[in-house]
């Protein structure tokens, strides 16, 4: 049974009134959705609220979920829409400012499992990299942010991104190609000063 078939069975159970099945779906996707919201909003508190809202909206609209799409695609689409609405409501279209990152705590990020083997220099490098990546995302033009996060941070395939943002595959490829040029300029500028 593939991942999506498992999800469809869980959705059916939810529709029959079994909320435990929905809990399984939340546990399965919360890390991805929370990180997606965090990258798009740049703030852990807001990311938490938005990710929870996205799951709640998914539950409320579960009878509209069509199995022609994977649940994974569907929950990403809902989450991105909730993030956009959140930004619109809060008139925070400029997204994160660097100031909000200067207060990053030591334990703000979960380092990969192999982190015990990293040297202090490597850990420092990683932390700097995290800060730079988030700062670059915040400086990207709005039209590129979502596709960049999906492509480079979440490592999704072009067709998955096209399904999530509901755009033709060709349009997504062109958007990412253009976004990469802007990304590279920002990257060069930031890393020149920081590495």
């Amino acid at each position: 049974m593939d991942k999506n078939e498992e999800d469809i069975i869980l959705v059916r159970k939810c529709l029959n009134g079994n909320n435990d099945a929905f809990e399984e779906l939340v546990n399965k996707y919360k890390l991805q959705i929370y990180n997606l919201a965090y990258r798009l909003l740049g703030n852990r508190e807001e990311a938490k609220d938005v990710a929870q809202e996205a799951f709640f909206r998914a539950y409320r609209s579960l009878n509209k979920y069509k199995i022609t799409y994977s649940f994974f695609t569907w929950i990403y689409t809902i989450s991105i829409n909730v993030c956009r609405n959140h930004l619109k409501d809060n008139k925070k279209m400029q997204m994160v400012s660097f100031e909000s990152h200067s207060s990053m705590e030591e334990d703000d990020f979960e380092l990969p499992i192999a982190s015990e083997q990293l040297t202090p220099e490597e850990i420092l490098h990683k932390k700097r990299n995290d800060v730079i990546v988030q700062r670059i995302i915040s400086k990207l033009p709005k039209k590129y942010r979502t596709v960049v996060v999906l492509k480079y941070i979440h490592d999704l395939q072009y067709n998955e991104i096209a399904n999530i943002v509901n755009l033709p595959l060709g349009t997504v490829k062109i958007q990412i190609h253009r976004a990469r040029k802007v990304l590279k300029e920002l990257w060069d500028k930031e890393t020149k000063n920081n590495f």
Binding site: G17, N19, F22, E23, V26, N27, K30, L31, Y34, N35, Y38, R44, A47, K48, A51, Q52, F55, F56, Y59, R60, S61, N63, K64, Y65, K66, I67, T68, Y69, T73, W74, T77, I78, D108, F109, E110, L111, P112, K126, N129, D130, I132, V133, Q134, Y152, I153, D155, Y158, N163, I164, N166, K173, H177, R180, L183, K184, W187, D188
Partner: protein, 210 residues
């Protein structure tokens, strides 16, 4: 291959989207052009750095908070009706009389559906799905739309000899969204629908305007 052309193709190459002659040309260009090779290495390094960004851990109470809201919502949607029906309330007789009258009018309209006034608002719509020849092994095709609460079992189409599936549905004038559901699993828009509209969740519904 010129450097400008090569620089345009490097990111497609990194993503594995190049094939055939373009890929060959780019690879041989990268082998001999120091400048483009550097561009390629820089871009690859940036991609690796972006992908290696740390994962932010989810707050401990995340699932519990979502489920609290979910459970409250599902309980409330059941309890709302229960409360509405069984909550004792002071009856104002004049208000009750108006409601009773409205109820009576409603029942009489329901009992006399041949009333011309109502009939003129109803249109008999023939839904038809013609599958290509050789499309066999389908057991049921049903019609789900906002007119039946997207129920995949309520309206089942009738098959005919030439792979056509049809169903007559009387509908009041208005705008309706609908989809065909094949064997209760596969959702399919009407290929001959006048319009398709976004369903708000990344897909398209067929649109019927009467």
């Amino acid at each position: 291959m010129k450097c400008n052309d090569a620089k345009e193709l490097i990111d497609y190459y990194i993503d594995g989207l190049l094939s055939g002659s373009e890929k060959k040309e780019l690879v041989s260009h990268l082998e001999c052009c120091v400048c483009c090779k550097k561009e390629y290495n820089d871009l690859k390094e940036m991609n690796d750095n972006l992908r290696s960004v740390s994962i932010v851990s989810v707050p401990d109470d995340f699932t519990n908070r979502v489920m609290d809201r979910v459970n409250k919502y599902s309980r409330n949607s059941m309890l709302d009706w229960f409360d509405f029906i069984f909550t004792p309330r002071v009856v104002k007789w004049n208000v009750a009389a108006v409601f009773s009258l409205l109820l009576l009018v409603g029942i009489s309209v329901y009992l006399f559906p041949k009333n011309r006034f109502i009939d003129s608002e109803v249109v008999n719509v023939k839904f038809q799905l013609e599958l290509p020849a050789g499309h066999v092994g389908i057991n049921t095709i049903s019609l789900a739309g906002d007119f039946n609460g997207w129920d995949t079992k309520a309206m089942v189409l009738n098959p005919s000899d030439n792979n056509k599936w049809t169903l007559d549905v009387p509908l009041k004038k208005g705008r309706y969204q609908y989809m065909f559901v094949i064997d209760g699993r596969e959702w399919m828009p009407d290929p001959v629908a006048g319009k398709l509209v976004d369903d708000g969740f990344g897909g398209k519904n067929s649109l019927l305007e009467l």
